[in-house]
Amino acid sequence: MMQNLQKIIFFIALAVFTQTIYSQDHGGVKSLRGSADIKQSSITPEQKRWQSDREPVDRAFVHQPPIIPHKIVGYQINKKFNKCLTCHSWANYKESGATKLSMTHFSDRDGNDLANVSARRYFCTQCHVPQVDAKPLVGNTYQPTRGLQAR
């Protein structure tokens, strides 16, 4: 009888102790779920939307890969086919009215000129990305170099 009572007291104490530990502050570290309790569902972050078609966007610095001024959802870019190039390749840009890709895409890393887009420049989205309507997380005062600023 006495032993059982001891056991019960021990487990109650353990439960209270763990409860205090888990409800404590974790030194500012926050999980991806935020501070939502384990039993609650976390709040879905706001869905960002891809920006739709617009004029080409100015570059902010020299050698910046231009950003993509349209949606590319569902575009297939793999070793078999590149959707982007059906408009932006040298063979197709005139008909589609798209920007053609620059000569830099036709050379390998040793500077040899190739007859077609180089494998290292073939996967467009490695450098070129579309934009969503997200607001910058922090403000900044960055200005493009004067040579690139619109007049």
Partner: protein, 205 residues
Amino acid sequence: MAIKSRFKKYICMLKSPSAKYSLGGLLTIGFVAGVIFWGGFNTAMEATNTETFCISCHEMKENVFVEYQNTIHYANRSGVRATCPDCHVPKEWTHKIIRKIKATNELYHKALGSINTPDKFEKKRLKLARNVWKEMKATDSRECRNCHDYESMDFSFQQRRAISQHSKGFEEGKTCIDCHKGIAHSLPTMFEEDPSAAIAVPIKK
């Protein structure tokens, strides 16, 4: 000899008027049998016109169906879905029957196992895709236009690029499939179609 004479007997029976049954009775039986046969025929044909039927073959289920699930014709904002037969089987009866007869060739290749592995399928993909493109081109993209009717297409609701491309394309007499290839399935190796839109070195066969 016996078979021949029996055959002749049946022909004679078909030729001579009925002495036992009334014309009305015969007509009624014929009418009912016709309804059952015709209804049964169309029901059976419609049963082959469903997604469930299409993906009952692993060739479809494991290749093209998987690819299609990532596209806008499968899932989109308004929840309208175009399933396999919506694009691949004509709606109009005559064209539907012609397509169904052509499909017997697909049964033959199913039996042969022409595309029974992903590898075999991939090797045949360009040829198969070209068949579909050719057919769509020939019918002026009839199956697309079941839903995407040019007459009810309001360019002012479209995006910048779509407006210019559509007005230009339609003016030049282009049809949907001329530009919209590979919208519901992965494209084949396109080096032969447009070398400028594929990687510099053709993939080893």
